[in-house]
Every structure is written in C-alpha cells, then in structure tokens.
Amino acid sequence: MIDIDNMPAGLRDAALKAATACLADVVGVTAVVIATVDGFDLASALRGNQDAARIAAMASSISAISSVVALEAGLGSFKSVTINTDAGFAIVQAVPRADIELVIHVIADHDAILAQAMHRAGVMAKVLAGAPA
C-alpha cells in the first residue's frame, strides 16, 4: 500500500502543476482537485473557499459508482462522467495508473466551455498517467 502521506513527490508535483495550469488556462474553471481513488486530495487549485478534501471524497464516490454502472452495463472501464447543471458543470476523469489510480475533478461555472474543459481533463489524465512515480 502506498500511504497518502508518502505519495511519490514526482507525481504530487506533476498533479499540482497540472491542476494549477488548468485553473489558470481554462476560463470558468473554479476548482481542480486531483485525488486518489479512495478520496484523498493529492493536489488542488481552487478559487474561493472550496474544500479540496470534500471535493476529493465526492470525486472518489462518483468515480466508484460510475465504474460499477459501466461494469454492470458491460461498458468496460470508467473514463469520465460529466454533471451538467444550470450554473455550470463538473467533470470527474479517471487517471489509470498501475501503481496509484487517481481521479481528476474539474468544477466550472457557466463561463466555461464544456468541450474545452473535457479536453483539458483528458489531457491532464494522459499526463498524470505517464508521470513518473
């Protein structure tokens, strides 16, 4: 088991860099939290008073439930889920790694463009999937 307090520094740095850049680059994004699949926040970039730990736990639950839905429906492995609301959207994106599975949670308001945020979440996932441990 890799403990949350002993996550590889390289991976933590890569996660922080990715989250910070996404928040800065994508208009309307208000929070980017990168978490372990069991809901510990590894890195985050936030506007305002959002709670990274709480967002991480929710991302973990959404990811796990989505994975089961995909499995039960014979749809293969979970990749991402988008929650559309009247004020914006949230994206939960899987980061498949052999050593430490991660999830990315992007929260955006109505100024954001969904396709742009989804594309960026996908790019972050690829970067983190290949980041050194």
């Binding site: 088991m1 949350i4 372990t36 069991d38 809901g39 973990s60 639950s61 796990a64």
Partner: protein, 180 residues
Amino acid sequence: MKEYKLLITGTMGAGKTTAIRAISDTAPIVTDVANHDSSVDKARTTVGLDYGVLALDNGDRIRLFGTPGQARFDFLWQILAKNALGLVILVDNARPDPLADLAMFLDGFATHLETLPCVIGVGRTDTHPATTLEHYADALEARGMVFPILPVDVRQRADVISLIDTLLGQIEAGMDMDLQ
C-alpha cells in the same frame, strides 16, 4: 409484499461489505477501491455504496445499502439514509476506541436516529473483550438512547440475519405503535 430499505454503516473495516455479501441473494454491488490510509490494515475500501437484496420467507424483500465508513464520505451517509426504515451500526471492538467510533455514527446519523430504528452490531468481542456490551449500552444511555446491541461475526450469515431480524422486529413494533 413489503419492501424494506435498510442501511448498514460503521467504521472502515467493521465488515459492512462482508455483512451484505453474507446475506445477499444476488451478487452484491460493491464500490471498493485501493486503500491509501495506512492507519487501517486493509487493501480495499468502499467509497460509494454497497448494495444487496435479501428475500424473506414471507415474500417481503429487503434492500440493503452499505455506506463508506470514513467521515470524509458523510455526504453519502445522508443521501443513503433517505427513505431507510432502519439502521445497522457495525463497530469493530479491535479498534483503539470503539466507543468513539460508535459516537461518530450516532452523531453522523443523529437527525435520522430521532425516528429511525437502529441496532448495534459489535465485532471481534471474542478476541478483544475489553469493551463490553454493557459499555456500549452505557454510552447509548448517556445519550438517552436505547438500541439492541449484539455481538456479531459478519462473516457468519446467521449472525447478520440475527441483526436484520432484530432490526425488522423494531421496525414492525414501530409500525404497530403508529397504527394505535
């Protein structure tokens, strides 16, 4: 035919998933993932929900929902408790402070427990007898609560069925009182 929604909660490692697996008539739905919390010696942990179904001899059906155990998932506790008719709290007597564990769930479900029947299942009482069932009863009494407290081995179907039977008895009694 009656349908009951029952909720099983308790600390990480107390055996919620195992309990549902022990009595579900169908393969349970589980949302466990790799655990990164080294304070608990466990490879995987539930982060969403567990789900199983148990058919009773009289044709009634119980839908069993299990919660994650960690407090960081308390948002799910409230969601899963909606429309539940009863609550099982599982406590692991081998943990450092099982009475504090119980208190966390009594607090977490405080609003629901004002009306919801509840039963406490205490695991590993044989190997860790320091905290007795009387201690649990005293802790409940201090809060003005009285719930059945049973020793349980969640790997044993009969033990889990006993917990559910006890809870159903409470639910039926509550319904009878409502009708009077």
